[in-house]
């Protein structure tokens, strides 16, 4: 392997560094209209009237639409984890009758200029009669909309005899844990630009991301068009993190407007809109019970949790609670298990996925539980984990339930070994001795550890087309999407190795439904695994074709030939072909072979024209990477502020195509985890008014809050599900940050189990420390401890 496994620079970087990127807001057309949405200012209410006439009176306003104008457009459907009974909770593209959260689109204004569109939107008079709001997802269920309960469904995963386990338990541990509402919040807001080409009868949507092919099919269905006449086109994408690229009302509105108003329509979200209209996530409360034996082994876990879905059920349907329930067991052997996730509608921004959805939450729950078991029994917390880890010899390890349409089979892993490596990397015992001394000297400093299993490589398929042009340039066309993660480079590296070219001579086309008919996009840490293997398969076929042609033209036996640096040449005998260099003996470049395979070339013979091939990869199971996070945190007892002094992520990725990019994924996820652990939360007042509508209220970490990160990437457990052994890297950085930081804070303030809620804001931590001090004051006065 020349390229796979090397930290080569990205092929994406140059245009992005020179200001030549093409993000959504950079796409514009002549005679373009600008869409501005009028959004509900009420969390729940009946829309009595919408008066658009003052807006329409402004010169340059082309149209104002309300719910009545789009009544015939179906609501946005589910993409994943469709469950019976959720259909009535789907979101229409403009509110129909009732508004269910602050920020819900109730009218759309189309004008010649974006400033004018905002002026006009301000003039639209919306009268809404306020209705009672539901804001607490874990309270008693009520009515969300007429005839529809606020509890839309219960997701359940279970196996084993729960009752027997609890009946025979040495001890039962109960915890009540919560994670606040958070979201991906990319620095580029959403954007959508639609253009209808009447001459070709083609509708184009720019600003596409994540899942262009699925969105193409949905838009076509919703607007009554043939899918092949709808083209979604992905440009540069300013961060995804789960929320971007799902089909939202705004995407459909610009398409409909382009068709009806016969002018291109651009919508660029502003930041306030983003924080109240794009998917939120997390937002769970878990009431978990565990039955344990005297050695700290987990006999059973029974978890009931409440998922705050917000005002509608969007494209992810029950995905987040489903993943939380399926992934909560993590790396541990659990005798009997039940997780029941209550999907609750509230009058807040609707929810979807955010990087490591359901796992950031359930890892927090599980690892809090492991720490609680250790504290209850007085067993070391590492030892407690060791006793419960699934063993290497038990792999593949089946959990008797499914998620994302696949059975949960942990494909490979040596969990105990990674734990050892992580502990060794931080010198765990020495580290704790040092921290103990510092605590004795009055500092509030401590360490925490969390173990997790991720999932990646979701199928069911991916397709790649590779062709070599007559200059020797290799083009890979894939149905994957780029969200900034470096997929072009990774695909180019895999293609380059298989085909025998320089990765910089590989051009990767993605996110374009007009170039390839099928694609699954980029989500769930799937692209490197699925697209990577499809690329390898296609490249193998191109390689075979090239060698076959060259063998004939060069009059050499095919098995004596190799492709090295884009040239078919003789393998030096007795040596690894990869070591050879072009230029010795007969040779033929891929450019010449591509020319020989031109349709009119006399050299082509009976072969199909073109040096090209298509590769399909199918997979019914996910690949499960895993990792360990270790945090060292220092608490300021006065302010409740937390500084993360040190952090290690040990992660087994199966096989790292580009270690630099794997580290980049882990580091980026870690920073988001720091936000999730300490800073970020969408808050609402008691009328459902959102309180976090700017970057001054929704606090994301800056360079000051994110400490240097140590990363240990291992390749001990390649996935048996694909020949390169690949597993995904997108979500392992964020997964366990909340859990590890919580444990470190517990340790720092000397109160086991103190942290039960994320984010650990200074106010919350200060209150916990005060309560702790009050309690010790009472104890010192001789009053019996509780």
């Amino acid at each position: 392997m020349v390229w796979v496994g090397r930290s080569v620079p990205r092929i994406e970087d140059r245009p992005l560094l020179t200001g030549r990127g093409r993000f959504a807001a950079d796409v514009g057309f002549a005679k373009m209209l600008h869409m501005r949405l009028v959004r509900s200012a009420r969390a729940h209410g009946r829309i009595h009237s919408i008066d658009a006439s003052p807006a329409l009176a402004l010169a340059g306003v082309a149209a104002v639409w309300t719910g009545a104008d789009v009544r015939d457009i179906p609501p946005i459907d589910f993409r994943l984890t469709r469950i019976e009974g959720l259909a009535p909770y789907r979101q229409p593209i403009l509110a129909q009758g009732d508004a269910r959260y602050v920020g819900e689109p109730v009218a759309a204004v189309f004008a010649d200029d974006k400033y004018l569109a905002e002026d006009a939107a301000d003039l639209v008079v919306v009268e809404i009669e306020e209705l009672p709001v539901i804001l607490d997802a874990s309270g008693s269920a009520g009515e969300h909309a007429q005839g529809h309960a606020s509890e839309a469904t219960i997701v359940e995963k279970s196996y084993g005899d729960l009752a027997a386990a609890f009946a025979h338990a040495h001890a039962v541990i109960e915890l009540d844990l919560a994670v606040g509402r958070q979201s991906g919040v990319p620095i580029e807001t959403r954007g959508a630009i639609a253009r209808y080409d009447v001459a070709r009868d083609v509708l184009e949507l720019y600003g596409a991301a994540k899942v262009p092919h699925w969105n193409r099919d949905q838009i076509a269905r919703m607007l009554g068009r043939a899918p092949s006449t709808v083209h979604l086109l992905e440009g540069h994408v300013g961060g995804g993190f789960g929320i971007r690229g799902e089909l939202y009302p705004e995407d459909v509105l610009v398409c409909l407007a382009a068709l009806q108003l016969r002018r291109p329509v651009q919508w660029i979200e502003d930041r306030r809109e983003h924080l109240i209209a794009a998917n939120h996530s997390r937002g769970q409360r878990h009431k978990v019970r565990a039955a344990i034996d005297a050695d700290g082994r987990i006999m059973a876990i029974d978890d009931e949790f409440f998922h705050d879905q917000g005002g509608y059920v969007r494209t992810h349907a029950a995905t987040v609670p489903d993943l939380a329930a399926a992934m909560l067991p993590g790396p541990y052997r659990i005798g009997a298990y039940r997780a029941r996730g209550r999907l609750r509608l509230t009058n807040k921004t609707p929810g979807g996925t955010y990087r490591s959805p359901g796992r950031f939450e359930s890892t927090f729950v599980r690892e809090r539980l492991l720490d609680a078991i250790a504290a209850r029994l007085g067993i070391d917390r590492i030892e407690t984990r060791r006793r419960n880890l699934v063993g290497k010899e038990e792999m593949p390890y089946t959990r008797p339930f499914a998620t994302l349409g696949t059975h949960v089979v942990l494909d490979s892993g040596d969990y105990a070994s990674l734990l050892d490596k992580a502990l060794a990397a931080v010198k765990w015992d020495e580290l704790n001795a040092t921290l103990r001394r510092r605590r004795e000297n009055g500092e509030a400093v401590g360490a925490g550890l969390a173990f997790f299993v991720e999932k990646s490589g979701l199928g069911p398929f991916d397709a790649v087309q590779i062709s070599v042009d007559t200059s020797g340039l290799v083009e890979v066309v894939t149905g994957a999407a780029s969200l900034g993660q470096g997929i072009e480079t990774v695909v180019a590296q895999i293609c380059a190795d298989t085909l025998g070219v320089d990765y910089r001579r590989v051009r990767v086309v993605h996110g374009r439904t007009d170039r390839i008919d099928h694609g699954m996009g980029a989500f769930a840490s799937r692209a490197t695994v699925m697209t990577g293997e499809a690329t390898r398969l296609a490249a193998l076929e191109v390689r075979a074709k090239a060698i076959e042609v060259a063998a004939e033209l060069m009059q050499q036996p095919a098995d004596a030939l190799a492709i090295i640096e884009g040239t078919v040449t003789r393998k030096p005998s007795g040596e690894d072909g990869e070591q050879a260099r072009a230029g010795t003996g007969p040779s033929m470049s891929l450019a010449k072979i591509a020319s020989a395979l031109q349709p009119a070339s006399p050299l082509r013979g009976a072969r199909a024209p073109g040096l090209s091939a298509e590769g399909w990869f199918y997979s019914d199971h996910m690949a499960y990477p895993y990792g360990v996070h270790i945090a060292v945190a220092k608490v300021d007892r006065e302010t409740g502020g937390v500084a993360i002094e040190r952090y290690l992520i040990a992660y087994d990725v199966g096989r790292a195509v580009n270690p630099m990019l794997v580290e980049g994924q882990l580091a980026g996820g870690f920073a988001q985890g720091v936000g999730g652990a300490l800073l970020e939360e969408f808050l609402y007042d008691d009328r459902g008014e959102p309180l976090c509508v700017t970057f001054a209220d929704y606090l994301m970490p800056t360079a000051r809050e994110v400490p240097p990160l140590d990363v240990l990437i291992t390749e001990d457990a390649p996935s048996p599900l694909n020949p390169l052994g690949l597993k995904g890297a997108g979500e392992g950085g964020v997964n366990a940050v909340g859990a590890a930081v919580a444990a470190a804070i517990d340790d720092a303030i000397g109160i086991p189990g103190a942290i039960t809620q994320l984010p650990v804001t200074p106010q919350r931590l200060r209150a916990i420390i005060r309560r702790g001090e009050d309690r010790s004051a009472v104890d010192a006065n001789g009053i019996t401890k509780k």
């Binding site: 994406e12 140059r14 995804g240 930041r271 980049g664 580091a667 980026g668 700017t694 800056t702």
Partner: protein, 162 residues
């Protein structure tokens, strides 16, 4: 709407004569009226710094200024960093340190850091951290950005002293 005003912005050495409403922000005019879309809009309230440009030698948030306030001033944006095909040392350093992923915040970070390095050639590592903490990045976790800028600062110092 108010009457439009004639102004001239000098961006990367080129004069752009434009007629704009006084309420138009500088970043909108740089992007929409002058066609320089390398400068990005992330929040429009001066927190994220994606729109950072250098205006008369100072790093500023171009979303917090009106274009009329920049009339006649010298503006530098990311498009002006490279010299033809030759990248600025900081651009190369960003590439080598994997200091960008989606690349949306990158122009703002580049202009912020270039200005810091130019105005304070002896900038310390901690001062660099302080400067970089004024912009937001959601992809990289910052460490590689910090490394890229520190490495360029060290290189520039070495080049000066030799």
């Amino acid at each position: 709407m108010t009457e439009k005003v004639d102004i001239t912005l000098n961006i990367n050495g080129h004069d752009y004569a434009v007629r704009v409403e006084p309420r138009r922000t500088l970043v909108d005019v740089i992007r929409d009226d002058c066609g320089q879309t390398g400068t990005h809009i992330g929040c429009e309230h001066g927190v994220c710094g994606a729109c950072t440009i250098i205006l008369d030698g100072e790093a500023v948030r171009s979303c917090l200024m009106f274009a009329v306030q920049a009339d006649g001033k010298r503006i530098r944006t990311v498009e002006g960093l490279a010299d033809g095909d030759k990248l600025h040392p900081l651009q190369i350093s960003f590439m080598n340190h994997h200091a960008l992923q989606c690349g949306f915040c990158t122009p703002g970070f580049l202009m912020l850091a270039v200005n810091a390095l130019e105005t304070n050639p002896d900038i310390s590592d901690d001062e660099i951290l302080d400067v970089l903490a004024s912009n937001l990045c959601r992809c990289t976790g910052y460490q590689n950005i910090i490394k890229a800028v520190r490495s360029t600062a060290h290189e520039m110092r070495r080049a000066r002293s030799s």
